[in-house]
Point group: C2
Chain length 255, copies 2
Amino acid sequence: MTNIPNQAKQVVQLLQGHRSIRKFTTDQIPSETIERIIHCAQMASTSSHVQAYSIIGVTDQDLKRKLAEYAGNQTYVETCAHFLVFCADLYRLNYVTKSKGVDVTETLETTEKFIVATVDAALAAQNAAVAAEAHGLGVVYIGGIRNNPDKVAQLLQLPEKVYPVFGMCLGYPAQDPEQKPRLPQSCVYFENGYPDIHTVAEDLKQYDQEVKQYYIQRTKGKRQDTWSDMMVKTLSTPSRTHMKSFLEKRGFPLK
Amino acid sequence: MTNIPNQAKQVVQLLQGHRSIRKFTTDQIPSETIERIIHCAQMASTSSHVQAYSIIGVTDQDLKRKLAEYAGNQTYVETCAHFLVFCADLYRLNYVTKSKGVDVTETLETTEKFIVATVDAALAAQNAAVAAEAHGLGVVYIGGIRNNPDKVAQLLQLPEKVYPVFGMCLGYPAQDPEQKPRLPQSCVYFENGYPDIHTVAEDLKQYDQEVKQYYIQRTKGKRQDTWSDMMVKTLSTPSRTHMKSFLEKRGFPLK
């Protein structure tokens, strides 16, 4: 990294060095570290200052065990030191406006506010992830909690107008995995307009080969998937088709 | 900050020091800095490696002027050095799976995949924001591009299954605003379950007073809004009620 300002170097290395960690030591995380991570999450941008998210920190071993099961038997949800559930939260806004005698239900039921709350939760989460990694912690996002969002919501006593967007395992790493190669920058970043995708078709093909080599190395040849192969496998069958009706039940009718 | 590991200190200060910047110098951003910021964005986590987002970097002055107008006459969209539009992108996945002869339309039309793509875009964006600030740049998120998402999509030639989630202004700061106080941690972070909201009612009231003092100081008494007042103003009238039909037209029927 040439010509990079010194102050930026450490941060860039941290961000570019991210790998998901799924094996953790049994070391606990000091509570002041958690507090600092959450403070970082809170300082992320939020649409019109609505702060439409909440974070549930799960340390209770029984709750973690159940969440691991609900997430599709992802054991690291149970074995990580601290599990965070990031929720899109319009309930608090409903409460403070009602306290002022104003009914804003119509607004809160729009697709727009669903986007706002989901994005607010995600921005806070990514700040938390970066802060955690700066403390030497490993993290992995757990979209799997959307496998059983009803059960997760019940277990964590989420009120209406709150939905669990994803979880995040935090813990001290007990593994040192390789980075999974990302798409070439030419395929995700475009100047002044979206290009004809055929202009990046060659780059996508090269990326397919890169991902294939990554899997061959990692699995000693057992797995030889290209990225396109992975995407076909992942997308061939619709997953979590319950999300629409789940959200409707939770007070997100996406109007 | 006591007991904080030295390596974490800089990152925590960066994240906790965030303020939105809306006034920029006329200095341009070196292209290698943009490239590095986008690389950081790309290394954020992504659901099942789908990488369901794209970023349009807008430097063309005419495009920026139009985007500023579409975003509700937010001049900083025009005056910032570099404007980024973060898009949820299922089009690329549609392309690579079709290239393999597989039709995954049913999957891509689910609410679940809408969440995945929106979250992917947001995680990438927050990494970009952090990387930019580490380089001494100022940033502000622009949800305003959802005021006229149709026009934005047309202007940037977004294909179907791609929608602009938000924009982000990047530039060297020409202002040094105060931080807007966030909700007390007790109101957004909960251990092992969502509490009865009445247990934090007092904290919410105190926060209302804190926000009021912030506005009194900042506007020399002209503005005296509490947070609850702000929320009533912001939420009384539904905004961007076109999002549902816009998304449907773009290939996100939220099934």
